[in-house]
């Protein structure tokens, strides 16, 4: 009896240790991906390489989401960010033909890089110092539903979105429509107000073709 109980306890602790180790492994792999990708975005000269390193960072963030039981958000992160946003970046880079190296030498001010590094360090130290003030957490817990409990993550997110967060959800629909209309207006080529040079170029080209 005692021996069987002890074996059950041992199995339980070894399973717990395995879960612990796997959570740490996922965290460390994700952290390595995030930091490598961020360093690549900052340091690489070619914008196409920067966009690809951004994908590495986004996948790392998705790993951290999975590690913290945000399954739905991890899927959305990969679909929306890596699938849509980065593709849009790459499309614009290729479309505009700016996939050449940045002219690093032509700096407007000599002090820009040191000052930027200093500012980045100040931001980092400030965030870390401020967050130590209240030991990371300063709010009241669990107003809009519990994260842990029975049911899937998707189900809980969906219930929160369609009940307590319904008005913000409707507002995102309006925001997306506004963004689509704004994009169409901004990228309208000829005939629009404030687009005279481009229109002139198009007119010249067409007149050359016709003549």
């Amino acid at each position: 009896m005692l021996a069987s109980l002890q074996s059950v306890l041992l199995a339980d602790t070894s399973a717990q240790a395995l879960a612990h180790a796997s959570a740490w492994a996922v965290f460390l792999v994700g952290a390595a991906m995030i930091l490598t990708g961020a360093a690549g975005v900052i340091l690489l000269r070619n914008p196409v390489h920067c966009a690809l390193m951004l994908v590495v960072t986004l996948f790392g963030v998705a790993l951290e989401f999975i590690d913290q039981s945000a399954d739905f958000l991890a899927a959305v992160q990969i679909i929306v960010y890596a699938g849509a946003v980065v593709i849009l970046f790459l499309f614009v880079i290729m479309f505009l033909g700016v996939d050449r190296k940045e002219a690093i030498a032509a700096e407007p001010t000599k002090l820009q890089k040191p000052l930027a590094l200093l500012m980045g360090l100040v931001v980092l130290v400030e965030i870390l110092a401020l967050s130590r003030v209240d030991h990371w957490v300063g709010g009241t817990p669990a107003l809009s539903g519990a994260l842990n409990g029975p049911g899937d993550n998707v189900q809980k997110v969906g219930q929160a979105v369609y009940t307590g967060y319904l008005l913000p959800f409707e507002m995102t629909a309006a925001l997306l429509v506004i963004a689509v209309v704004a994009t169409v207006v901004l990228s309208k080529r000829a005939g629009g107000a404030g687009n005279d040079e481009a229109g002139a170029v198009v007119a010249e080209e067409s007149s050359e073709v016709t003549s």
């Binding site: 959570a23 914008p47 958000l73 960010y81 931001v123 519990a146 901004l186 990228s187």
Partner: protein, 101 residues
């Protein structure tokens, strides 16, 4: 037990600092946009961590809204960049003053 939340928060702070530094260092507008995406992702990671820490689904719902806003922002920002390139074939932030009017 899983990884303590402080590790995620420190990681998010480092990512935010790297994004802010990149935004200040780089002069290519597209890469500056990517650095803004890095900062948004750091904030998303913080939201998810606090959702776990406080046992509150609201943090994850907020991340969903941040994703929508980021997508809309990228669409409009890239349209502005394309409009900028129509006027002048240069991608540095110093050329944006010509967008006036």
């Amino acid at each position: 037990m899983s990884v303590p939340s402080a590790w995620y928060l420190v990681l998010a702070a480092i990512l935010f600092g790297m994004g802010a530094t990149g935004l200040l260092v780089r002069r290519n507008v597209l890469v500056m946009f990517m650095c803004i995406e890095l900062m948004l992702n750091a904030v998303n990671l913080t939201f998810v961590t606090f959702a776990r820490l406080l046992n509150d689904i609201g943090g994850q719902v907020d991340v969903l809204f941040v994703l929508v806003v980021a997508a809309a922002e990228v669409v409009v920002g890239l349209a502005i960049i394309v409009a900028l390139f129509r006027r002048r074939a240069a991608a540095t932030a110093d050329d944006i003053h010509i967008l006036k009017g």
